[in-house]
Assembly symmetry: C2
Homo-oligomer: 371 residues x 2
Amino acid sequence: MPLSLPPAARVGALLNEVDTPALLLDLAAFERNVARMQAAVSGAGLALRPHAKAHKTPAIALAQIAAGAVGVCCQKVSEALPFIAAGVKNIHISNEVGNATKATLLAEAARHAQMSVCADNARQIEWLAAATREAGTKLDVFVEIDIGQKRCGVAGSAEVMRLLDDLAPHGQLRFAGLQAYQGRVQHLRGHQERFEAARRASDRAAVVVAELSKAGVHCETVTGSGTGSVEFDLGSGVYTEIQAGSYVGMDVDYARNEYAGALRFEHALFLACRVMSQGDGTRAVVDAGLKSLAVDTGLPTVWGREADYTIISDEHGTVIPRSGPVPGLDELLLLVPGHCDPTFNLHNELVVFRDDRVEAIWPIAARGLSR
Amino acid sequence: MPLSLPPAARVGALLNEVDTPALLLDLAAFERNVARMQAAVSGAGLALRPHAKAHKTPAIALAQIAAGAVGVCCQKVSEALPFIAAGVKNIHISNEVGNATKATLLAEAARHAQMSVCADNARQIEWLAAATREAGTKLDVFVEIDIGQKRCGVAGSAEVMRLLDDLAPHGQLRFAGLQAYQGRVQHLRGHQERFEAARRASDRAAVVVAELSKAGVHCETVTGSGTGSVEFDLGSGVYTEIQAGSYVGMDVDYARNEYAGALRFEHALFLACRVMSQGDGTRAVVDAGLKSLAVDTGLPTVWGREADYTIISDEHGTVIPRSGPVPGLDELLLLVPGHCDPTFNLHNELVVFRDDRVEAIWPIAARGLSR
């Protein structure tokens, strides 16, 4: 008899029967998050193109599109493939493609879906032009501008104009507008501080849009924003498309932001773990560590318990109660991951539950696809 | 035509042709590391049971066993399954099993390989006894003792004796000895500081072994140690079996330790990435971030270049040259991961090279198996 690993959960089982560690999605909270973001973005007259790098899960993308999203963003070309296979028809690669190999894959992908991509350098445009010419496909190209992140993106309208000259000979590459994203703003804690930083960033984008307009260049789409700045970016007058992603599940880091008003999101993403040792009896050692939880923004929190997850190692976490008894052996604990995006990237599947029952198992089909 | 992702590398290709990001193993350095550790452990008259959680790669385990290792350690029962499937016949689960589900899987695994496991609580022994009785299999059981890690493990010989009473009625569960591991010692930087801490830890184990001996209990095996403390533990007189794992590939964190003498290991593990943007021209933005590199012990370093990897996000890293020009678009850079174990856990395959040629692609078959 061959030895095989039983599934972590079966549809219809009680949540308490799930084998651990397992990544969980609270379907009711998820649905409220999706509806809330879509209503806010639609209400402002903008398009929502949620970032699929946050969840890497085609079933989530399809739910977002069913709720009104125009498509999704992916951060890498390979990441887009499972979404195309699942029927997503409109994908923006919110990133540059830095060589001929990746441009070739993107040009092939454009046979199957409407694809767009960013550029901030003439050589990238050469690779895209050659690959689409070879494949006989078309791409929308966004010029990325740096609005304070100091990562990718050109500095201003003069550089955008030069790249438009590079694009011009290639009819299969259509200038679609600008990408303007400031990741650091997303995680500033204070509401006023985050508002001011988001406004400084969107003002930089507004200057470029205005200068291009004066030069006769229309930016059909200005795409950017994120879960931390969306409440400000909706009214910026610059963005036409919102790329937020983390709002679907939330995490400890985003929950540390101070929010105001109605546009706040609920924890829908949890890591189920169990106590496998109590050591000398003063602590609960759980079966989820660095291989189940990303800690680049900090440790997870323990959901609904007066307890702290204090020390992490590869496959262990130490949970200390703030009051009351130490959780018992085999006791199920739900953790809120510190950072949702790389935590999704550790797991092959998402156990989706409603109330206390498992409702579905969703493959995290783009896990590990970083090429 | 369906859209599929081409392999990251083909056997025989030049290293420079590998698609990125990709996890690489320098075969010559790996072979030297494996031989060096085996010679040191065998030379001290001890057994080597390398930790497979470090690499999750059956081909690596088979190479370690071919060099003289007695088997491997796994940290979870599910992690052991690909190693059993690859023909590894002797696996120690260097961890407690905290419920009946996991005990059942372990008891089933014992049909296929000689399995052992740790216990630090009577209930774990009940689960193991029931599962092996049901499966009709046998297990070796190690009592884990806490020698300063303050994670799993009982405090001393009195608690060990109580667990031996719990084991006694179950003929299918054989007491095999003690597990004694102190993870924090591994990463103390100074050679003398690490020596003293390792000795304090092994002295605690020695006290328990002596007390048990006085009570007529023989510990056939005392298993523990790691890459950072092995040079001291070999001469401790307590350990009979060494569990080191990270030495096969090494990482930035272990390289920060101050070593003395001959037992030092080489970087064999690298993350290949490429420059996909230069932003405003002052930096190289590479295509490998949090989804390709674990950063719990810090950022990666840039191999063989006067440059620093300074900022990480999900799919980007910012590399700043200390001198000379900014690396060009599409330029290949090799990074040394900050922490090897969770970095292996991000990747599905390992691109194995010798000199400048790809020699094999090894599946990281236990990736994601944390149950």
